[in-house]
Structure formats: structure tokens, C-alpha cells
Amino acid sequence: MQLALTADEAAFRDKLREFYTTEIPSEIRARVRAGEGFHPDDLVGSQRILNANRLAVPNWPVEWGGQDWTPTQHQIWLDEMQLACVPEPLNFNTKMVGPVIAEFGSQELKERFLPPTANIDMWWCQGFSEPEAGSDLASLRTTAQHDGDSYVVNGQKAWTTLGQYADWIFCLVRTDPSAPKRQAGISFLLIDMSTPGITLRPIKLIDGSYEVNEVWFEDVRVPADQLVGEENQGWTYAKFLLGNERTGIAGVGRTKVRLAEAKKYAAQTKRGSGTLLDDPLFAARFAEVENELLALELTQMRVVSGSADGKPNPASSVLKLRGSQLQQATTELLVEIAGPDALPFGADIASPRWAQRAAPTYLNYRKTSIYGGPNEIQHNIIASTILGL
């Protein structure tokens, strides 16, 4: 057992740290550190710099821009990126559709889609959930009927995150409604968002932001060569994808940065004769969150260094569960630090900008225990897969 990084790992970390803090524009990183909403241009600009240096899709096969790294190196890549406040490459591209195409797609699909996906010349969104298919994803109803050399898609997708920026959508569609098992009749289809028959409507969220969308498909003709892998095998690909979605979802580095910001503000906030950080009640809760985050960081290190093959591990449910809880706890602390200054929103007044953002962010982060498989589902996975219950 050895706590420290090896000399090689430490050198690798230092190199990345230097790259992130010198090559990614400081104004982009400052906006991320301050938690200033979502800036699509920042994400695209940053991902293209990363991609030009083979740092956007290290999890992909080497021939498509990936890196032959150890699991620990992959974790360092992510941790340092988060600590340096570099916008993470778009998950839908790099962790979801890219790996699926690389693993299950034909050579033609790989050549056509992987390079622009890595470079975010194509912005992807995820067409999985539907109004009647949330956690119970296999009950999805959007259909795709084979008609000549195309599929005709009809139905509705829901909770399509950042769909308003997307050029393409990867969809789970039902190609065999009469399959004996619901999971058996599902296919994985790539669809250009500008295809006639697609309507997108952004949904306003409780923080006032627009992050998710509803997408309708009405007789949308999709060329059959945009099917990934084999027809009716989509469920297998989706499970592969969802396993990837949950890795790195803990957000340890991001929460660390946010907690450090919170501590800075608490030390500036007067309470009684001292500051909020001197207040034992507040300090106790803050120190507990810090300690729980350390426990999560160490657990993530254990999972990563133990998963030699890099395959998804049921322990990723533990990381997702605790990671989301601690992200939320941190946003709660920020609201409490802001106090009455949390009330105004978007005004150029005495209330500092971070304080004005605290409550909307808190509201927004309730999503973390819902997306990527809600925490109740993670509990079920832990109970059944790990504990055998």
C-alpha cells in the first residue's frame, strides 16, 4: 500500500497541471471557478484546445485520439482539469456516443463521426428518456420503422440536456415492437437535428435556466446507415453507455473548488464579532462536508486503482451517490453563507455576484441526485449487485 503517486504519476500530473493552467484561456477558467452559468463557446473553445493536444478523448481507442493510459492517469487527467477549472469536454460526445460508435459502430460510422465528435464540430445530445420512460428506460415508445434505406421515426424524447445547442442526437428507438422482451426490440440511431419533422422545445427549470428540452419526432426519415451496430441490439449499447456515464460523475475536483470558494466567502462574511467561518455551528458542518469529500476522493482512488481493465464497476454507484450528495451539500452551504444576499438575482447592486448565484445554483443542483440514474436506483444497484439483496 502506498498513498503517494509514483514519480511518473507525479510528473504526469505536473505536466497536465501546467498545460491546463497555461493553455486554456484564464478568462474561461475564471468563469468556471465563479460558477457563472453555462457558456457553450467556452466549452467548445476549451475542448478544441484539448483535442489538438490529444487530451479531449483519452478514454477512446488510441487510433481515434485516445490515450494508452492507466486508470490512475485517467483519473489524474480529470481531477487536474476540474481543479484548474477547465470546462470538461462535452459528456454526450466524449463519454457517451463516441465510445459507443468506437466500440460497436462500423468502420464507415467511425470515420464519419468520431473525428468531428472529438473536436465538437458536431454537438451531440442524448435521446434516451421519454415522458413515460425515465428510470424504467426499457419502456420507451419512440418507434423507428424500417422503410427502404431509411428509418421513419415517430415519438417524443424528454429531458434532453443541452439539446438546444445540439447538431445531432443519439436515440434509443423501438424497432421491433413485438419482441418477446422489451429490451430486445430497441436500436441505437444517430439523427441529424436539422432533419425535417424534428421539433425541440426548451423547458425552463426551477433556477430560471434552460438546460433540458423536449424533442418531438414526426415521420422523421433517418438514413439506415446511421444505425449503430445491429438492429435490436441497442439495449446492449445503452447499458455500455450508461456504465460510462456514471464514471467520473462524482465530481470530486469540482466540489473541492466550490468548497474552497465557499470557505473564502465564509471567511469574509461577518457574524457576531467574528466571521461565519469562526462560528462553531457553521464550521462543524463545513468541516464535516470537507471530511466526507476526502473520504469520497480516497474511495474514488481505490476504485480507480483497483479497476485495471477500466470497465465500469458497481462501486461507481457509490461514487455517483456520494458525489451528488456532496455537490448538493456544497451548494447548500453557499446559500447559507450568502444569507439575505442570496435573494436578489441578476442585479448590479451591493449583493455580490457569487451570492446572487448561490440560490439558483442550489436549486439547479437538485438535479445531481436525479440524473444519471436517480440515487434511489443507485441504492437498488448497490443492494442487488454488491450486497446480493
Binding site: M1, T6, A260, E292, L294, V318, A383, L387
Partner: protein, 368 residues
């Protein structure tokens, strides 16, 4: 970064697990706990044979990780032998502060022939205080120590005591005191362990090393002890969760086994999450010591996390068993008792939280 045990460590774990599994099932364990001694000299001898009694002081390069591995097995079986109290903690004090001749005593400790105890805590003195009211006096060529020590884990059976006492000119030193030179009131603790209240009335004492300030030696030994206690707690939590999941899979109500009820399985999943977080912090504490970093803050971080998990897992383990969990015959309640005791030894959760709060303004992010 490597969280794997070495082959030798795996071997040690397997020997300890094998020995303790052979020695104790819940019924035989309860029987041994009810004897006057409260533990088994036969098992003690076998623990000595596989090298567990000298883990904190015997061999260079072997230590904290091995102690963690062994104590996890002790916790798993709730073995009542006072490994930490009668060997590891006082042993490392002698190893660090003792003269060559005093250190020779350790061979007999490691071989199981001599029992020690660290008489440190006093009425009204709580961790992290290291300022005892017990005081040492020097007269001619000899020292005496006077005061009351309580609770002293393993104080009931120890042959030799390592006693902390204030020096006449200030500071705290350590002394070796023969158990025959003191008055002791022996008792059983609520979790089945043993201890004693020890009164020293000008008891003849031999300075451990020179009669000099030993606060740092004491603090270091306490850090090691806290890590060992964390490991014992992790073993106990693991077994408490295993008992609980086994029970949920076998107990039937409403015509089905209890694992058909999500209200129960989701809570078991939370116990698992708590266990894994505590296990990580336990490893962190032991690995830090193995790196030569005897940082009390790291120990506090671990003991806080383990203490919180212990309460959660211990309480839920009994609750998910229902009535059977309340009975002394069934093992799960004994795990709750031991976990509760560990939380109150060398700093409670709140005590350790205070340590963290006091340093909160000194750094922006926690670094390993």
C-alpha cells in the same frame, strides 16, 4: 498510489482470520467474555505465534498496515483479547522512549508472556488533553508516582504499567510501574472488555528512558492507537453489515424474505456506502503512518469518519434485524456495543471535529 496488500500482508490477514474464526463463533466468544479474565490465554499465545502482539514495535518496515490488517480481523470476530491495550499501545511507548534494557521487555510482550497497559486517562481528563494530575516525585535515587488513573484498558490483567505523570519541574514523563505496586479496582466494560481504576500512592516507578518530556511520544502512540481502533471498527462494521444482509435474505415475513422490501434494502445500501467511506479513511490513516507521517489531524479525520459510520451501521444493523437484534444471544448487538465503545476511546466524533474546526482557516482545499 496503491491500495493493494502485499503478499505478506495477505498472508498475515489470512492467518489472523483463520485463527480467530477457529477460536470464536458468537457462542464461544460470549462464553469467553463471561470468564473472569474475559479473554483466552490460549488465543493470546497463538496471536503471539503469528506475530500480531509485536506489530507496532517489533520489526522495522512492518507496522501500521499490518496492524490495520490484523485489527480488522479482530473486529470482524469481536475477539476480546486486549491486543491494542495490553501490547500494541504500551509496547510502542516503550519502543520509542525506553532504554535498551527496558526495550528487552518487549520480547516477552511480543511472545505473549507479559502484559502491559497504558495508564494515562484520569477522572476529568479527556482526549486530547495530555496533562495528567498524577505526578512524579524524585527522592534520592528513586522515583515515585502518585495519582488516580481511570479508565485503564487492560489495567486489570497487566503485569507492568506505563504511567504518564507530571514532572516536578513541569512537563509530562512516562514511568514503568509494577502492577503489584498499585491498588486496582478491576471491572468489566459494557462491551465485554476489561479495565481497572488504578490508584498510585507513592508507587515505586522507573522512568521510561530518562525522566524527560514525553508528550510527543504519547501523541505518536495515540495516533497509532487511533488508527488501530479504526481498523477494528471497520472489521466490526463489515461483519455487522454481513450479518444484516444475510438476515434480510433469510428472514421471512408476509410470505417473502425481507430483501423483497426496498425500504430495507435501500437502508442496507446506505450502510454499505458508509462502510466504504470509513474503510477509505481507515486506509488513509494507516498509510499515512506507514509513510512516517504521524499527523494527529489525519488520525482525527479517520476517527471522525469511522465514528460516524460506526454509529450509522451499528444502529441500523440492530434495527434491520428487529427484535432478535436486541438479544444478547445473537451477535449483532455486541457489534453495536463494541463500536460504541471504540467511538468513546481517544476522542469522540465531536472531539475530532473540534480538531478539524480549529484548523479550517489554515488551508483552502484538503490535500492528502
Amino acid at each position: 498510489m496503491d491500495f493493494e496488500l502485499s503478499d505478506e500482508q495477505v498472508l498475515l490477514r489470512d492467518s489472523a482470520r483463520g485463527l480467530l474464526t477457529r477460536s470464536y463463533d458468537p457462542e464461544s466468544r460470549n462464553k469467553v467474555v463471561d470468564t473472569e479474565l474475559g479473554w483466552s490465554r490460549d488465543v493470546w499465545g497463538q496471536l503471539a505465534e503469528i506475530g500480531i502482539l509485536g506489530l507496532t514495535f517489533e520489526t522495522a518496515g512492518v507496522g501500521p498496515i499490518e496492524a490495520m490488517v490484523a485489527l480488522t480481523e479482530v473486529g470482524r470476530r469481536l475477539a476480546p483479547e486486549p491486543i491494542i491495550a495490553a501490547a500494541l499501545t504500551p509496547g510502542v511507548l516503550i519502543a520509542e522512549a525506553g532504554t535498551d534494557e527496558q526495550r528487552r521487555l518487549l520480547e516477552r510482550v511480543a511472545s505473549g508472556q507479559r502484559l502491559l497497559a497504558f495508564a494515562h486517562t484520569e477522572p476529568g481528563m479527556r482526549w486530547p488533553s495530555t496533562e495528567p494530575a498524577t505526578h512524579a516525585a524524585h527522592d534520592g535515587g528513586s522515583w515515585t508516582v502518585t495519582g488516580r488513573k481511570n479508565p485503564v484498558p487492560a489495567g486489570d490483567c497487566a503485569d507492568t504499567l506505563v504511567v504518564s505523570a507530571a514532572l516536578p519541574g513541569g512537563g509530562v514523563a512516562l514511568f514503568l510501574v509494577d502492577a503489584d505496586a498499585v491498588t486496582r479496582l478491576k471491572y468489566r466494560t459494557f462491551d465485554g472488555h476489561r479495565g481497572a481504576q488504578i490508584d498510585l500512592d507513592q508507587a515505586a516507578a522507573e522512568p521510561l528512558g530518562d525522566a524527560v518530556e514525553a508528550t510527543k511520544v504519547i501523541r505518536n502512540a495515540i495516533v497509532r492507537t487511533q488508527s488501530a481502533l479504526c481498523a477494528e471498527a471497520v472489521g466490526a462494521m463489515e461483519e455487522a453489515l454481513r450479518l444484516t444482509t444475510d438476515y434480510l435474505k433469510s428472514r421471512k415475513q408476509f410470505g417473502v424474505t425481507l430483501n423483497k422490501f426496498q425500504a430495507l434494502t435501500q437502508r442496507a445500501a446506505d450502510m454499505y456506502v458508509s462502510l466504504e467511506m470509513a474503510r477509505s479513511m481507515n486506509m488513509y490513516a494507516a498509510m499515512s503512518i506507514a509513510d512516517g507521517n504521524l499527523d494527529p489531524v489525519v488520525a482525527s479525520r479517520a476517527k471522525l469518519a469511522v465514528g460516524q459510520a460506526a454509529r450509522h451501521i451499528g444502529q441500523e444493523a440492530v434495527q434491520l434485524h428487529g427484535g432478535i437484534g436486541m438479544t444478547a444471544e445473537y451477535p449483532v448487538g455486541h457489534y453495536l456495543a463494541r463500536l460504541t465503545a471504540i467511538e468513546q476511546i481517544l476522542g469522540s466524533c465531536d472531539d475530532h471535529l473540534h480538531v478539524l474546526i480549529d484548523r479550517l482557516g489554515d488551508y483552502d482545499v484538503v490535500t492528502l
